[in-house]
Every structure is written in structure tokens, then in C-alpha cells.
């Protein structure tokens, strides 16, 4: 097999960002992706069975979906179910495309609040890469948000605000609380071959319009045009190393079940906060008996998944609130920063979202099932009459929240599956309880006659972070500030695994900016890069 300059494992957000930039810079890139390409015509949002298929074929939970590309995850000791999509585009195929950045304080939580650790970089250092990513992903929004330092305007104007969101904006002005039109990686007008959003409200089950900034739309066409080779149906089981401890490529199982070896000079792992530590732990050798790049013992530790709560407001008025971008129409950062008067540290971002169709209303947004006349009453009061604040709370790292290899469970290719141990912390519980109470006040002030609070929802582990943490000290971290392994000079981890702390926002803007920054560094230092 022809050796590549750079081998990338995973074709999701970070893998696509790196593939495109490296191919553009003239590198010979091979990307191995365990899943397949998805035809946007396969998404069910425009069909009447979208809610039914959204519970199985298009669910976010790989354990429920059980597709050939998926691997099972043992969640028997987890308070949250991890979610992902395995295929070209990765979880951006199903993400909501909410595109907030970490705040400056997120990079300095030890200094400011005495908890967790500071990042080895700052908001200012990442800001230029945030701004370039905004352009690459086609982000819609409006500049000047006082929750962030000044910077460039998003490349696209904001998506329209539904009428109910304007009511909530007025309510927040009365309360003296922050709100801002949502920042989303969703095209509000034609942009680089993508069509504009049609407000169908099914973003998280795949965007059939191609308006959403999933990397199969935003990055892969260019990456392949620049010469990147994308191999699908390729499940990587081990990163190989030579006698000097340098990565030499990867062993993978192809679609026909045959083992292949892809040699490369440099290896980038971009397989998400569960898949990446799984692969490093699988890559044991005489030289690396505890897994690759794991001298610190930190591979697979400090899993963060962002405990997530919801508050739904019920209104007399019919808003047709199954439509809109899903996505966030408003975001609120009023309670994002630490307040010493509260019984927890750090905070949360709220995103205002549609509430879906009749089956979702009938099944009760995660509530107990009802039937008979109560069912009709539930649908009458919820469908079109409701709007939801989704609350993402900061999830502080804990070494007891781990990804390890399961002793029995295997994927369809017989490779050991990951096992998750994750407990929601007391800080998170207090944080979400406080935030939910404020979000209920928000909706009541906007005219909701009732609010339905779910402080923490189990099936919400969209954000898989922290399991291959970044840091300056090789004894306490796995990769350096440029995402390069402390132990293996030509191995990089470029996905959300490297997060030092989680912040309280959706992470894909930060994942993409970090991947772009690491890739630029790799290009700049190519002549100094030691290779096998």
C-alpha cells in the first residue's frame, strides 16, 4: 500500500479540517473512516416518518442505532449515554450546528476559580482560528455579542428569529439578562455551493438541504479535490510503531473484513473523545505496554460529556414551534461565569430550540408515557405551543470518569469495545438546578403559563471531551499545546479528546479551531518533523 505523508483516523469535524488544509498545502493525505458516505437524500426530515426513524435508524445513540459502522459502548456504569455518528462528516452529520466559542475564562479556570486546570493556550491565541473556521463552516450570526471579546463578524447574516424568540428577547431585556441571536454553522443564504436553510427543524437528523455545516458538505469536497484519499469502511484497530517509538501507520479492517496496513510518516487521530482513547489503548506494544502515548496514564481519563438539561415553556399561543433551525435561535450567557454567591462554580449556556413534531409531543419530551385522553391533552398543549431552552453546563474533569477497554464486548469486527464510567458531579447537579430555575423564570416572563423542567437528561452525551488531555507537562498530560503527543513525536490527537476543561458550550467550533491550529503548526514545522 502506498505510504502517505499524513494518515488521519476519522473523517469527522477535526479529521476533515486537517485533511483539507494538509491536502491544500500539498501533503499526500489518507483518511481512514470506519463509516460510509451519506447521501443527503437519505435523510428523512422531509418525510412523514422522520420522527419514527429518528428513534432508530437516525438516532444519535450508537447502541440503539446498531449500524454496521457503529461500535457498541458499555454504558452500564454511566449516568449519560454517549452519542455519535460514525461516517464521513462524523457527528457533524447529526449535530445541531450550534457554534458558540469557549469564553476567555474557560481557558483559565484554575487561575480564576481554583478548580481543574488552565489550558496551555488562551482565547486570544485561538481567536484567529475560530474566525477562519467560521468562514470555512459558513457560520451565520451577528457580531458584537458582549459575552465575548470583539472580533470579526460571522461570514453570513443571522438566521431569522421566530416570533416566540423575540418575545423571550423582550423578556430578558425586562429582566436585565443577556440574550443574543444564535450563532450557528447553518447557511442563511447561498454559500460556497450550499443552499440556505429552510427552517425545517430537523437539523439533528441530517440536513437534506445541505445548508448545515457538516464536514461532508463543507470540507470533504475540497479535501478530495486537493488530492486527499478518503477510505471508507476502514475500521482502525491499531496504530503501529517502529523500534524508535515513532508511529508508522495503522492497521485497519476493511469493508470485507480483511486486515490492511496503511503506512504513513505522520499520524493524526481524530476519532472523538471515546474512539480516540479506545484506539490508543488498543495500540499496546512492548514499548508502550499501557497503550500508545500513555506515559502519563491520562489516556481515557477525565471524560467530560456536558450534563444537559431542558426547560420547556408552554404558551397559549400557537407558534408553529416545530419549525425553525435546530440550531439555536437565541443563546443566553447570563449565568455563564462563576458567581461566588452560588453553591457551585462555573456556569452554562442556554440555546433556544424548536420542540419537534406530534410524536415527540405525544411521547412527552422524555417524560412518562401517557395514553387515553391525557395523551390528547398533552399533544394539544405541547405541539406548536412550546419552546425549549437547552442548557449545557460546564462539566469539570474527574479522573474517575473514564474510557477503558471492555473485557467482553466487541464491535462487528471483533475489536474490543469501549467501556464508559461516568458520574454526574455534585457541582453539575447544583449548576443545572440553578440554571433550570432561571430558565423557567425566563420563559414565564415571556408569557409561558407553565414550564416543564428536566434538570438532566440521560441520552444527551453529544460532547465527548477530555480523554487525551492537552498540557505542558508530559507527566500529567498526553499531548502538548500543539496537539502533538509528548511520547510519540509524529503522533497527533486533534479531536475533542484534547480539551483540558469542557467549558459550558457546544464544542465543535473549538474542536475545529484547535484542529486547524494544530494543522497549521504541523505544516509550518514540517522540516523539523521526525518521521520513521
Amino acid at each position: 500500500m502506498t505510504a502517505a505523508d499524513v494518515l488521519i483516523v476519522g473523517a469527522g469535524a477535526s479529521g476533515a479540517v486537517a485533511s483539507r488544509r494538509l491536502a491544500e498545502a500539498g501533503f499526500d493525505v489518507v483518511c481512514l473512516e470506519q463509516g460510509e458516505r451519506t447521501d443527503p437524500g437519505a435523510y428523512r426530515g422531509a418525510y412523514d416518518d422522520w420522527e419514527l426513524t429518528g428513534l432508530k435508524q437516525w438516532t444519535w445513540d450508537p447502541n440503539v442505532r446498531g449500524a454496521r459502522a457503529d461500535y457498541p459502548v458499555d454504558v452500564s456504569e454511566s449516568d449519560i449515554d454517549p452519542l455519535m455518528f460514525n461516517g464521513v462528516g462524523g457527528s457533524t452529520v447529526q449535530f445541531a450546528a450550534q457554534w458558540p466559542r469557549l469564553a476567555p475564562s474557560d481557558f483559565r479556570v484554575r487561575t480564576l476559580d481554583g478548580v481543574a486546570d488552565d489550558w496551555p493556550l488562551t482565547y486570544r491565541e485561538l481567536q484567529p482560528f475560530y474566525e477562519r473556521s467560521d468562514v470555512d463552516f459558513g457560520v451565520s450570526g451577528i457580531g458584537g455579542d458582549p459575552a465575548y471579546p470583539p472580533g470579526a463578524e460571522p461570514p453570513l447574516p443571522p438566521l431569522p428569529l421566530p416570533e416566540v424568540a423575540t418575545h423571550i428577547a423582550r423578556a430578558h431585556n425586562r429582566l436585565g439578562w443577556h440574550w443574543w441571536p444564535g450563532t450557528n454553522a447553518i447557511a442563511s443564504r447561498r454559500y460556497r455551493g450550499r443552499r440556505p436553510c429552510v427552517q425545517r427543524g430537523t437539523c439533528a437528523w441530517g440536513c437534506g438541504e445541505g445548508a448545515k455545516g457538516s464536514t461532508d458538505q463543507t470540507h470533504w469536497p475540497d479535501a478530495e479535490r486537493f488530492g486527499a484519499r478518503l477510505v471508507t469502511g476502514a475500521r482502525v484497530r491499531e496504530i503501529t510503531v517502529d523500534g524508535r517509538g515513532l508511529a508508522t501507520g495503522a492497521l485497519y479492517v476493511d469493508r470485507d473484513g480483511h486486515e490492511q496496513h496503511q503506512p504513513a510518516s505522520v499520524v493524526l487521530v481524530a476519532a472523538n473523545g471515546i474512539g480516540t482513547p479506545r484506539l490508543l489503548l488498543l495500540s499496546k506494544s512492548e514499548r508502550f505496554p499501557d497503550g500508545l502515548a500513555n506515559r502519563s496514564g491520562q489516556v481515557g481519563k477525565r471524560l467530560m460529556m456536558h450534563p444537559f438539561g431542558t426547560v420547556i415553556g408552554l404558551f397559549d399561543r400557537h407558534w408553529q414551534s416545530w419549525q425553525g433551525h435546530w440550531g439555536q435561535s437565541l443563546q443566553c450567557m447570563q449565568f455563564y461565569e462563576t458567581d461566588p454567591e452560588r453553591d457551585f462554580v462555573r456556569g452554562a449556556k442556554w440555546g433556544l430550540q424548536p420542540t419537534g413534531g406530534p410524536l415527540g409531543a405525544a411521547l412527552g419530551f422524555g417524560g412518562d408515557p401517557v395514553w387515553g385522553t391525557a395523551l390528547h391533552e398533552r399533544v394539544r398543549t405541547n405541539l406548536g405551543h412550546s419552546i425549549m431552552w437547552g442548557i449545557i453546563g460546564e462539566d469539570l474533569p474527574d479522573e474517575d470518569n473514564t474510557v477503558t477497554l471492555d473485557g467482553e464486548l466487541v464491535d462487528p469486527d471483533g475489536i474490543p469495545a469501549p467501556r464508559i464510567r461516568y458520574r454526574v458531579s455534585e457541582n453539575s447537579r447544583r449548576l443545572l438546578k440553578f440554571q433550570a430555575a432561571r430558565a423557567a423564570e425566563s420563559l414565564s416572563e415571556a408569557g409561558a403559563y407553565e414550564t416543564v423542567v428536566t434538570p438532566q437528561v440521560r441520552g444527551t452525551g453529544w460532547h465527548l471531551l477530555g480523554t487525551v488531555r492537552m498540557g505542558d507537562d508530559p507527566e500529567t498530560s498526553v499531548v502538548d499545546r500543539w496537539c502533538r503527543s509528548h511520547d510519540v513525536e509524529n503522533l497527533y490527537v486533534i479531536d475533542g479528546s484534547v480539551f483540558v476543561t469542557s467549558g459550558g458550550v457546544n464544542p465543535t467550533a473549538t474542536i475545529s479551531a484547535l484542529a486547524l491550529r494544530a494543522t497549521e503548526r504541523l505544516i509550518e514545522t514540517r522540516r523539523d518533523q521526525r518521521v520513521p
Partner: protein, 157 residues
């Protein structure tokens, strides 16, 4: 009765039994029709099963196990003794019911529609200067002292 798609065991007698259960789950209420009166056991069930063939086995087991004629108490027992079967039954019956064009019309729900957005239109939050109130309150992010210092010195990062 539909003559279209028949998964194993979903014969006419089974469908009639399922329709009786469906009417306990979704009875007529105010303007909303009962599940059987919109044809839940025919084309709608077929549509739901085509979307969710994985639920056929659990549904078949649940319907067979449920007392006939069914009652709310019988369904509560079913939910307690066979949660997976009850869940499959609920998803297929409700999924089929809310696909019904008659039901959707009554709910004023036309599905997830493609809307044309006009980003040239001035949003109310600009026209009413709502956003100015937020801006006028000033920054709410927590400044980092070292960064502020470097800003003052004009340091380039």
C-alpha cells in the same frame, strides 16, 4: 382491511385485536378521532412498520399478551411486565396515528415544511432596538488580567 404489506403474524385477526388496544391508547376525544377510526390497523400500521421493522416482534408479543378486550388496567399491567413490548406498541400506534393526514389536519400540522427565509427583512430585534439594550449593558465575559495587560501593551499574539 389493507391488502398491502403483511409482516409475519400481522393477519386480519391480529390487526383487529391491535385496533381495540389502539383505541384504549388513543380514544376519541373532543375533535380528535379514535385510532381505529383513522385506520390505524391498516395502511398506517404498515407505514409505521416499514419505518420501524425492528419493532414488529415486540409489538406482536405485546398485543398477544394483552387482555382482549383491552382496558387501561390491562395496558398498565403490560407496561409493567413487558416494557419493551409496551414501548413498541406505543411507538407504532402513536407513530401511525400521527402520520394520518386526517389527524395532521386537525392538529394544523403539515409536517416539517421547507420555508423560504428572507434575511433581507429587518428583524424585530433590530427594528425595536432590543439588541441595543444588550449591547449597552456592556461586556459580560470575565476578562483575563494577563490578556488585558497584553492588550494595553499592544502585544501581538
Amino acid at each position: 382491511m389493507t391488502d398491502s404489506w403483511h409482516p409475519d403474524g400481522f393477519d386480519e385477526a391480529f390487526r383487529a385485536r391491535l385496533a381495540r388496544i389502539a383505541d384504549v391508547l388513543v380514544p376519541a376525544y373532543q375533535e380528535m378521532p379514535a385510532a381505529s377510526s383513522v385506520g390505524i390497523s391498516g395502511d398506517l400500521l404498515d407505514k409505521a412498520l416499514r419505518a420501524r421493522p425492528d419493532l414488529a416482534g415486540d409489538c406482536r408479543r405485546a398485543v398477544t399478551a394483552c387482555a382482549d378486550p383491552p382496558s387501561a388496567e390491562a395496558l398498565e399491567r403490560l407496561a409493567a411486565t413487558d416494557p419493551a413490548g409496551f414501548s413498541a406498541l406505543m411507538v407504532l400506534v402513536l407513530g401511525g396515528y400521527y402520520i394520518s393526514s386526517e389527524v395532521r389536519k386537525l392538529l394544523h400540522y403539515a409536517g416539517q415544511e421547507a420555508l423560504r427565509i428572507d434575511i433581507g427583512e429587518l428583524p424585530a430585534y433590530i427594528e425595536e432596538e432590543l439588541i441595543d439594550v444588550v449591547i449597552d449593558r456592556g461586556p459580560i465575559y470575565r476578562a483575563i488580567p494577563t490578556e488585558e495587560l497584553q492588550d494595553q501593551r499592544g502585544t501581538s499574539w
